[in-house]
């Protein structure tokens, strides 16, 4: 083997190592929403209660959220079965897109859904306790206890709770729904309990630009905690001090 051949093989080997490393890095960089966050959603075995060891939260990077994209909305609608009746004022919208237009014309797009507050006004005011906060931070409605008084809708400062104004055509396979009760985003609790990401997060990662990160706010090593530690995040209407589980980047 000539020295030149030997050098070529060394270079090729070095290239392969570099390419292999680059590919691994690219894989990590491209799919954080798949691998890292997936690992941050441990399965909760059946029969075991949710605990405050974890606090589920979601981070919205508005710099990545496009105005004309509604992949998260579509995915949530399909997952949770809240198809409308063509009446926007009374139709249910567990998640919706909002656009903020600044005075200089700059626009910011973001999804708005239940903010899963640590101090949820909706749960505080609910007379029957139908609306409650699970120990892991998910705000839920027990559809069997909701009497449809709508006081929670009066109390929510984010306008993310909706009254089912019309009969529900078909039951959602994932949870009960019914006319005359109030509902809202439940962070796809049926999925996260199985260790699967919420539908909106999955859709944003595959069809959008990966603007949503879901994970455990209590775990400093989780993707969401590291992203917040690295770049900061804020709550909508932070002045209300509700300690929301959904945080936003790029709002200010």
């Amino acid at each position: 083997m000539s020295e030149e051949q030997h050098n070529d093989r060394s270079v090729n080997a070095e290239r392969r190592r570099l390419l292999g490393g680059a590919a691994a890095l690219a894989g990590l960089a491209i799919a954080p929403g798949v691998f890292l966050v997936q690992a941050a959603v441990p399965t909760r075995p059946d029969g075991t209660p949710a605990t405050d060891q974890v606090r589920w939260g979601m981070l919205v990077d508005t710099n990545r959220c496009r105005t004309n994209c509604d992949a998260c909305v579509t995915a949530c609608r399909d997952e949770n079965g809240w198809h409308g009746h063509g009446r926007p004022e009374t139709d249910v919208k567990w998640i919706r897109k909002i656009t903020i237009t600044e005075e200089d014309g700059r626009r910011t797009s973001l999804p708005m859904m239940c903010q899963h507050c640590a101090k949820p006004p909706c749960a505080y005011v609910c007379p029957t306790g139908a609306t409650f906060r699970r120990d892991d931070g998910v705000v839920l409605v027990d559809k069997h206890l909701c009497i449809g008084c709508r006081y929670c809708m009066m109390a929510c400062p984010y306008q993310v709770r909706f009254f089912v104004h019309e009969p529900v055509a078909a039951d959602s396979p994932n949870h009960p729904r019914g006319k005359g009760t109030v509902e809202g985003c439940n962070l796809c609790v049926h999925r996260i309990d199985r260790g699967v990401l919420p539908a909106c997060v999955e859709a944003c990662a595959s069809s959008g630009r990966g603007a949503l990160i879901f994970g455990d706010l209590n775990n400093p090593r989780s993707e969401i905690s590291r992203a917040i530690a690295a770049h900061g995040a804020e709550s909508v209407r932070a002045d209300l001090k509700l300690d929301t589980g959904v945080r936003y980047q790029g709002l200010s």
Binding site: H85, R87, P88, E89, T90, D91, V92, K93, R96, K97, I98, T99, I100, T101, E102, M112, P121, A123, Y124, V125, C126, P127, T128, G129, A130, L145, C146, I147, G148, C149, R150, Y151, M153, M154, A155, C156, P157, Y158, Q159, F162, F163, V164, H165, E166, P167, K179, G180, T181, V182, V236, R237, L240, L251
Partner: protein, 424 residues
């Protein structure tokens, strides 16, 4: 004054007219029930309510009736708690009307629920952190206390307890109205509400609107019997209502000035009182001019304050003002766009960044009027079967004569009293 007050049932001498009125009320109640059944079957989308105006006309009717229920007990309290003997003969009417108003208001509230069939859940599952849950206890407790109070008033053996029961009812209704006001005062999401002031504001409102409701019942009962109310009693009730009305205006002014003074809240005041579509007209015309200024003149002016006709007209106007007040407080507060990003232009769903419009539909109006009809029906049945109406009041002028006070104040008889044809 007669040493012993004698009471009577009414509606027996002209039963046909009495039951005709009851039947009309029953028909309206049935129409309201039908409307509620329709809403419960097809869903609330057939109302003017939506996901921004979540509480509409049914709540306006219900809250006004509940406020009036608490205040309708004023006359009884003045007699039992504050020792005004000339008011004491009216305590039974006062108590029964308070119960009837609360039943009417609660019925509307329950039938407007998304799931009225789950009332039993509201009665068995309490989140005691919720002021709404506390109100459920306060309302049922009020009915129980008023029932006991009426018992002490009507059962001779219990007479010795009437002051105690009256005092308990007085205290309970203050707490009840504090609770009703706090339903709104506790909402940090709604900028139109101002926290703790909602409680005294609602107490003052209940005193005014309840006294107005009582005055109408009292004058109707007297008129139906061809009797004239004593001028001094009319003057006392008028003065009381006038003072309560002033208290409402003072607290409303304090409420709005407080909001105006707080940076970021002046927009909601401008919305409610100046720019918010029909809301400013409802407030200024309904609440202020018709509901306060004109009745205040009628109630506090020495030329009119002892006249039954003036009291009846003022009472109707005060109640119109009450509905207007509650409409602006409930519907107006929700119409104002939610400030998710204060000071920034927001668009998105139909309700983002925009004021909501609200046009009530027939079913919800029928439900509301059905609640009022239920109040009338309950009161009529009570008047017919219970001895609630005093046969003779202190200084009551004989029929066909006029007292010195009335001779200068009246000229048209008991105007506005022809609504209850029953005869005693």
């Amino acid at each position: 004054m007669a040493s012993r007050i004698r009471y009577q049932q009414i509606g027996q001498q002209q039963p046909a007219k009495f039951w005709l009125l009851a039947a009309v009320a029953a028909v309206v109640v049935l129409a309201g029930l039908g409307a509620a059944a329709y809403m419960a079957t097809v869903g609330h989308h057939i109302t003017g309510m939506n996901n921004q105006i979540v509480w509409g006309m049914p709540h306006v009717f219900a809250v006004t009736l509940i406020l009036a229920a608490s205040g309708a007990l004023n006359v009884a309290s003045v007699g039992s708690v504050f020792g005004r003997v000339d008011h004491k003969p009216l305590a039974r009417l006062s108590g029964v009307l308070a119960a009837a108003l609360l039943i009417g208001g609660l019925t509307v509230l329950v039938l407007d629920l998304g799931r009225p069939d789950r009332l039993i859940i509201a009665m068995t599952h309490y989140n005691l952190r919720s002021i709404f849950a506390w109100n459920i206890l306060l309302y049922t407790g009020f009915l129980a206390i008023v029932a006991v109070y009426l018992w002490t008033l009507m059962e001779p053996r219990m007479k010795g307890y009437s002051t105690t029961a009256g005092t308990a009812a007085f205290a309970w209704r203050l707490i009840l109205t504090t609770g009703t006001g706090s339903i709104f005062g506790f909402l940090l999401a709604r900028e139109a509400y101002g926290g703790a002031i909602m409680a005294p504001l609602f107490i003052a409102a209940s005193l005014a609107y309840g006294t107005a409701a009582f005055s109408l019942l009292f004058l109707a009962v007297m008129g139906s019997q061809g009797r004239r109310a004593p001028a001094a009693l009319l003057g006392g009730i008028s003065g009381m209502m006038g003072v309560f009305l002033m208290a409402v205006l003072l607290l409303l002014a304090a409420h709005f000035f407080t909001l105006l003074y707080m940076p970021g809240r002046e927009d909601v005041v401008r919305f409610l009182l100046v720019e918010g579509g029909s809301l400013p007209m409802v407030f200024w015309l309904g609440k202020i001019i018709l509901g306060a200024v004109i009745p205040a003149v009628l109630l506090l002016n020495s030329a009119t304050r002892r006249r039954a006709g003036a009291l009846a007209a003022a009472s109707v106007l005060v109640l119109i003002g009450g509905f207007s007040h509650i409409f602006v407080m409930i519907v107006g507060a929700q119409s104002y766009p939610m400030q998710l990003f204060p000071g920034r232009e927001v668009s998105g769903a139909v309700f983002d960044g925009r004021a909501a419009s609200y046009a009530p539909t027939a079913p919800e109006l029928l439900l509301g009027f059905g609640g009022i009809a239920l109040v009338v029906l309950v009161a009529l049945v009570a008047l017919r079967f219970l001895a609630l109406t005093p046969k003779q009041l202190e200084d009551e002028p004989e029929v066909g004569t006029t007292s010195a006070d009335e001779s200068e104040a009246t000229g048209e008889g008991d105007g506005g009293l022809a609504t209850a044809p029953g005869q005693g």
